[in-house]
């Protein structure tokens, strides 16, 4: 009969209308500023620089970046600007390294491609998930210096747990190798004639 389908449709919409007042599951809307859904683990938007150490004051001392400038060269939209330091400071593995005197990222240019993260040999730059970044100053407010970019390794573990665990394991392994090598070197100094297979193993993987 003509009109049957219309009646069925009207019933359906009425069910939705009243149902939305009774069952909260129907409403898929997240009321954003009050309710925030945690981002997916693989979420990313802009890069940040990792420093080791728990205290915020350590951000300069613990920064993993060695100013090798690979990310600056690889960055497709050229949003990274690095100035290498003149002096050196010990890095995470205790080796003296350069550090970035200036490290700026213009996040108004950054396209969140993650290429800087992929090319970094020192696990020093990672992608952040923070997205509430609006500012009333589109030049100064969106050009981030290294202090603004520096975030602790603990924070990285918080936002990307799986990825961070893998990176930590890798770094711990390297650190262990360096320590073993140092120990072997010390042992070699004590007894230069004795053979040391551990040191050769470590040097081959370096």
């Amino acid at each position: 009969m003509l009109g049957e389908g219309i009646a069925q449709g009207l019933m359906e919409t009425a069910r939705n209308f009243f149902g939305s007042y009774f069952s909260k599951d129907r409403l898929t809307t997240v009321q954003y500023p009050e309710e925030v859904r945690p981002p997916a683990e693989a979420a990313r938007n802009f890069p940040f620089l990792i420093y080791d150490g728990d205290r915020r004051e350590d951000w300069q001392a613990g920064m993993r970046c060695v100013a090798c400038q690979i990310c600056e060269k690889e960055c497709p939209p050229k949003c990274i600007y690095i100035e290498k330091s003149k002096d050196k400071k010990p890095d995470a593995l205790g080796k003296p390294q350069f550090y970035p005197a200036v490290f700026n990222i213009d996040i108004s240019v950054c396209m969140s491609c993650q290429i800087c993260v992929e090319v970094c040999p020192f696990e020093a730059i990672k992608m952040d998930t923070e997205f509430e970044l609006s500012t009333d100053n589109r030049f100064g407010g969106l050009l981030w210096d290294k202090e603004r970019l520096a975030k602790s390794n603990a924070y990285y573990g918080e936002i990307h747990p799986t990825e961070a665990a893998a990176v930590d394991a890798l770094l711990a392994e390297e650190r262990a190798k360096v320590e073993a090598k140092a120990k072997a070197a010390a042992a070699a100094k004590a007894g230069p004639s004795s053979p040391n297979p551990a040191s050769t193993g470590a040097s081959s993987t370096q």
Binding site: L2, I6, A14
Partner: protein, 391 residues
């Protein structure tokens, strides 16, 4: 007491008019009524925009606007400020004068419709002898303004929208008026006030509304379908057709002119709902005899809100028709039904009261509906669509 409450606005108007100089009293009296109508229906428009957006949201399992003010009910103020501060863009190739006049005339025509609507007992701006005729005459000015808007914009889409609007509105004006003619036949008057009075009185607790007769029921259905088409609302919103012709005839309107179109469209919808109430639902009369103590204007607005809810519900349910479906529905279903309904109303008028009259008139409505409905549905193949090129 209930008598005073019912007539409170009439008494207030008389009292205010009494302060005016003798020569200006009738002008002043009309002016007061006009201001009251402007204020009442403009605020009803504001409330309806929020209710519509919230209702549609709930139908689609969303919240709808809930940010501005308590439960989002101050949203129209924000919308108004926004549309007032927006740039008013007029296309270079547009016919500037007509482009400017179109929304203004639309709103003027929409407000003029309320002149003949009895909002309550003794509450009508102009009790014209040809009230219903006046309503339809002014209503057709709205069609004209839509074509003015579409033509003057000098834009392909707006002209397409305007042409769709004209085709649709002229097609649906025929069943709209034919459905109203049955009421005019039964009431024997074109005056809206007389039509409401004719529906007064109760049998037991039930009122004598025209909708409670077979021809009245069919007429009300036809009237409301045609009214939906006349006010360009979904599922008859082809003239706007966002997904096809972007916004149809008001594509080149921005800022407050767009808001005026919006206002005009809603006012047209309220007015035609008001006419439907006047013709079929007893105007300002209470639905049960024991509820007559509630003021008449409250009943009118309660009925109007109920109609608006139905409009919103329909809009949230039905998809837009195709142009040929629209036309075949108007000419192959609505028109024959409306013509037959005239016969039914005549039979009802001239046959003696009793069960036989109900049976004959009921059959005169139901049988054509079923047959015409079967005719309409012939050739419909509702099956899963197979995409040859997509997928």
């Amino acid at each position: 007491m209930s008598e005073t409450a019912d007539q409170i606005f009439v008494i207030m108007q008389r009292w205010l008019v009494g302060h005016a100089p003798a020569g200006l009293q009738s002008t002043f009296s009309s002016l007061l009524s006009v201001i009251a109508i402007l204020a009442a229906f403009a605020s009803l428009f504001a409330v309806t925009t929020v209710l519509e957006r919230k209702g549609l949201g709930r139908i689609q399992n969303r919240y709808g606007p809930n940010r501005v003010g308590p439960f989002g009910f101050l949203q129209p103020i924000a919308d108004g400020i926004k549309s007032l501060t927006k740039e008013d863009v007029v296309p270079q190739a547009a016919d500037k004068a007509v482009h400017f006049i179109a929304p203004v005339v639309l709103v003027l025509a929409a407000f003029s419709l309320y002149a003949v609507l009895p909002i309550g007992r003794n509450m009508v701006l102009a009790n014209l002898d040809a009230g219903v005729l006046f309503f339809f005459a002014v209503g057709s000015v709205m069609e004209l303004t839509i074509f003015m808007a579409g033509w003057s914009s000098h834009n392909k889409y707006s002209l397409l929208g305007a042409m769709r609007a004209i085709a649709q509105m002229i097609s649906y004006e025929v069943p709209l008026i034919l459905a109203s003619v049955t009421v005019i036949m039964a009431a024997g008057s074109l005056s809206t006030v007389a039509i409401v009075e004719k529906q007064g009185g109760y049998t037991g607790i039930l009122p004598h509304w025209f909708v409670f007769t077979p021809w009245g029921f069919a007429g009300f259905g036809l009237f409301m379908i045609a009214a939906t088409a006349e006010s360009n609302r979904s599922p008859f919103d082809l003239p706007e057709g966002e997904s096809e012709i972007i916004a149809g005839y008001y594509i080149e309107y921005s800022g407050f002119k767009f808001a005026l179109f919006f206002l005009g469209e809603y006012l047209g919808m309220f007015a035609i709902s008001g006419l439907g109430i006047t013709l079929f639902l007893g105007g300002w009369a209470a639905p049960f005899s024991f509820l007559t103590w509630i003021p008449s204007y409250l009943w009118f607005f309660a009925k109007l809100l109920a109609m608006i809810v139905v409009f919103i519900w329909i809009r949230g349910t039905l998809p837009r028709l195709r142009m040929d479906q629209l036309m075949s529905f108007a000419w192959k279903f609505m028109l024959p039904m409306a013509l037959l309904n005239l016969v039914t109303a005549g039979v009802w008028r001239f046959s003696p009261q009793g069960a036989l009259r109900w049976l004959v008139c009921g059959l005169l409505v139901v049988v054509p509906y079923l047959l015409l409905g079967r005719g309409m549905m012939q050739g419909w193949k509702l099956e899963k669509r197979i995409y040859r090129f997509a997928e």
